[in-house]
Amino acid sequence: MTRKDKYDVVVIGAGPGGLAAAIAAKQNGAEDVLLIERDQELGGILQQCIHNGFGLEIFGQDLPGPSYAQRFIDDTLACGVEPLLDTMVLDITSQRRIFATGRHSGFVDIRARAIVLAMGCRERTRAQIRIPGTRPAGVYTAGTAQRWVNVEGYMPGSRFVVLGSGDIGMIMARRLTLEGAKVERVVEVMPFLTGLTRNYVQCLMDYDIPLHLSHTVKRVIGNQRVEAVETVRVDEKWAPIPGSEEIIPCDTLLLSVGLIPENELSKKAGVLIDGLTGGPFVDDTFETNVPGIFAAGNVVHVYDLVDWVSEAGRQAGISAAKFATRIRRRETGLVPLRVGDNVRYVVPHQVNRESLAEAPVRLQLRVKTPIESPVWVEVRNRDHLVLRKGELYARPGEIITVEIPIKAYDQVQLADELTLAVVKR
């Protein structure tokens, strides 16, 4: 296939968000859709997620990562999306010009009518959480270890301590145990679990791996290879409690201390980033502040379930196709969404007043602190309740989803802002 120099829609990143976006763009009127992926195959990080737990929301099936990805890869290729593999995007401009490079694709310089950013996220590192000590081999992010074990077939250590109760860390604790390694413990600086409860049950409890909440790693020990780590209990302000130090012999420290949306490219195009989510400000069509540049998936905010990433990608793909084929909705302005009680952030950041004429609008939020009893998730237009949804609990590790129903159209037309809150029932 010869590459064109102009495309209706270019999607950057072929993980779950990008695949869904490319398919949706193609199916909604975009003629030429290019999907650029830096790796040598489609699917993104799903290809190394060989555990199950994917697809319950979208397919009603419990699939491993590669199987989940393959369904989208098959659709992508069948519907005529043009993949460009092993190619790294170097730069994008606000005029939607894209520069990329690849070993086989050479230097790429193309224009797009619309762009979907789907670069996903990266893992927070040792420097970002500032663990003192030496710098030996054996300090890896959980995702790097996952690639080694599941894709390359190598063990990065024999005796592990995992810092952080994020999902990848817990899943890797189980995976490494199954491969004959000893996982000494998982330590978490927060007084609560930061990943999904189901992963705690299935990955730690079932394998007798201890979880130490309100603990952190104070120091890495060893010059060539990790020889031990020093853990310590912390108070509510994360300050180490003297006397609670423990030296844990191990050869590897795995870090599962959070994910950061990967937006260095977005910034080059002038896309504005929300400091709370680490991702672009988007409206309910997933358009950023730069016209014609859309963003979806973990590049916008870090999701808990891949199904939601695919769903966001689909939405962004539809929006990009509409933009590229010049189908515009009636401009009636945007209603900003505000965070109220116990809400850390909400995505999207604003809602088109006219969107409810077509379909309900989905809002996704994370809470600041856990509430282990039934809660109300409320959306208010000043004092008027627009929507109230019950949940059995609210935990920072799990995203809460609510939908503004079509019947709220009139209220949203009149609102100058909507506020979200999560309160005890």
Binding site: T134, A137, E152, Y154
Partner: protein, 495 residues
């Protein structure tokens, strides 16, 4: 026993610069380095600044070497093809008391022979660096200050030396001297004995141990002084200047500076440590450098930090030999009277990097003064061609490079945009980079905001492939630091 003319102990920036200076002459020179790569000590962890020379006490060897060395950097960078920018530096005063101290510093600089220094007003200073603290009261400007890539200078100097006939042995540890009465006639190493006529002690942190084995300066002691640093994400903040605080008794203080890689770095603090290998980073140290940095640039926050590191200064205790000058940490660069056949260096802490070319020249002079007939070699080539760095090239050059070699089109390190072509070029370079850290120091891969979590498996794979070894044999920094322990599935379920 293998015989050479001169053995240099230590492949840091000083040892490699001496090797290059000696490569000009018809001599057989052998450079030995205990680590698996050159430049892994103080050379690889410092502020990367070419100092103007106002800081050392007038009359010290440090002051002389600093100013003389500083003047040599332009031609050095041109010949050896490494990054060097003579962008000047500032000593920034905060408050009235500090302002008064700038005069003394300027006078000292002028006495040392530093050209072009002058005072900059607080208002002008804030125009030049808008992020500066509102309490800044003025600054001293030294136009000859600069920034560089110290590690690539070292690699370039060593490559040029090897190109001109110097032999380099890494993984080779000095153990003792071989004497013929009071004359040194060789050295013992973990890889056998070598005969020679001269030995140059450029052992950095271990210079005291080496000279003691020769019976020289038994009172001399290197006390490692650790300096911790933090590297900031260039997408978050870019300070475009070299900013020193007003120096105190403790030293030059916590500076905020840009680097040739475009990152801002802050540091170093200064802490005596017992262990010559203790390059660990501490929580207290980090707090210290952040509060120091915020004194100059209040908007700096540790949230911008993408990496931390620590280096060790090889701080000596040699008194200055100039009569009337009180300074107890001067450089030692001498041919001592106690033995024959030793060129002895010690206490080469800051400004050692800046001084390195002048130190190398002085070593040549000392040898000549000692009666060594140094004949310039025919065909000596001062030029070392740099290898391309994809990220630094203009777009047209990038396109050309990829056309010529498609491996330069595949990006392996996403944050620093380092390509497969660059990595493979370093693995097969005249001084091959055989470990992850060796490639990192040469290409700057893995230094960005993901700290190598993306490139690491890919680089391990590339090294294994290029060297024809299994991935389990690939290490971060030599034996004992392998990344991987075994294949999956290859284990026995305990009974």
């Amino acid at each position: 026993m293998k015989t050479v003319d001169i053995i240099i102990i230590g492949g840091g920036v000083v040892g490699c610069m001496i090797a290059r200076a000696l490569s000009r002459f018809a001599l057989h020179v052998l450079l030995i380095e205990k680590e698996d790569d050159i430049g892994t000590g103080a050379t690889s962890a410092n502020s990367a600044i070419v100092h103007a020379g106002y800081d050392p006490v007038t009359g010290t060897l440090k002051a002389k070497m600093n100013v003389a060395g500083n003047a040599m950097w332009d031609s050095l960078s041109g010949e050896l093809g490494f990054e060097f920018e003579r962008r000047g530096d500032y000593v920034v005063a905060v408050g009235k008391e500090e302002l008064a101290l700038l005069d003394g510093l300027q006078t000292q600089g002028q006495n040392n022979g530093v050209p072009g220094m002058h005072f900059i007003s607080a208002d002008e200073m804030r125009l030049r660096e808008p992020n500066l603290s509102p309490h800044v009261s003025g600054a001293l400007w030294a136009p000859t200050g600069g920034i560089c890539d110290p590690f690539m200078l070292t690699v370039a100097a060593a490559e040029n030396a090897v190109h001109n006939g110097v032999s380099l042995l890494t993984g080779t540890r000095f153990e003792d001297f071989i004497f013929d009465q009071r004359r040194i006639v060789g050295v013992k190493t973990n890889r056998g004995d070598f005969a020679c006529r001269w030995v140059v002690n450029a052992a950095g942190l271990y210079a005291d141990e080496v000279m003691h084995k020769a019976g020289v300066r038994p009172e001399f002691k290197i006390c490692p002084r650790r300096g911790e640093y933090s590297v900031l994400d260039r997408a978050e903040i870019q300070i475009n200047n070299v900013l020193f605080p007003v120096p105190s008794e403790k030293g030059k203080g916590i500076l905020v500076t840009t680097t040739v890689h475009g990152n801002t770095i802050v540091g170093p603090n200064s802490q005596w440590v017992d262990d010559k290998e203790d390059r660990s980073v501490t929580g207290d140290g980090m707090a210290e450098i952040w509060s120091g940095a915020q004194k100059l640039i209040p908007s700096l926050t540790s949230r911008f930090s993408i990496a931390v590191f620590a280096g060790l200064r090889a701080c000596g205790n040699a008194p200055c030999q100039t009569p009337g000058v009180k300074h107890n940490h001067d450089f030692v660069i001498e041919i001592p009277a106690e033995v024959q056949g030793l060129v002895n260096l010690g206490g080469i802490e800051s400004p050692g990097l800046t001084s390195a070319p002048a130190i190398a020249r002085r070593v040549v002079d000392l040898l000549q003064d000692a009666g060594e007939k140094l004949a310039v070699k025919r065909g000596w080539d001062p030029i070392r061609e740099p290898r391309p760095h994809f990220r630094r090239l203009p777009r047209e050059e990038q396109i050309k490079l990829i056309k010529a070699d498609p491996r330069y089109g595949r990006v392996i390190c996403r944050c620093e945009m380092v390509t497969e072509g660059e990595i493979i070029a370093e693995i097969h370079a005249p001084i091959p980079a055989l470990t992850y850290d060796a490639i990192k120091r040469r290409t700057w891969l893995g230094t960005g905001r993901c700290l190598g979590s993306f490139d690491m498996p890919r680089v391990v794979d590339l090294i294994a492939h290029e060297l024809g070894v299994p991935p389990e044999a690939v290490s971060k920094k030599g034996p004992g630091s392998e990344f991987l322990v075994r294949k999956t599935k290859e284990w026995e379920v305990p009974a």
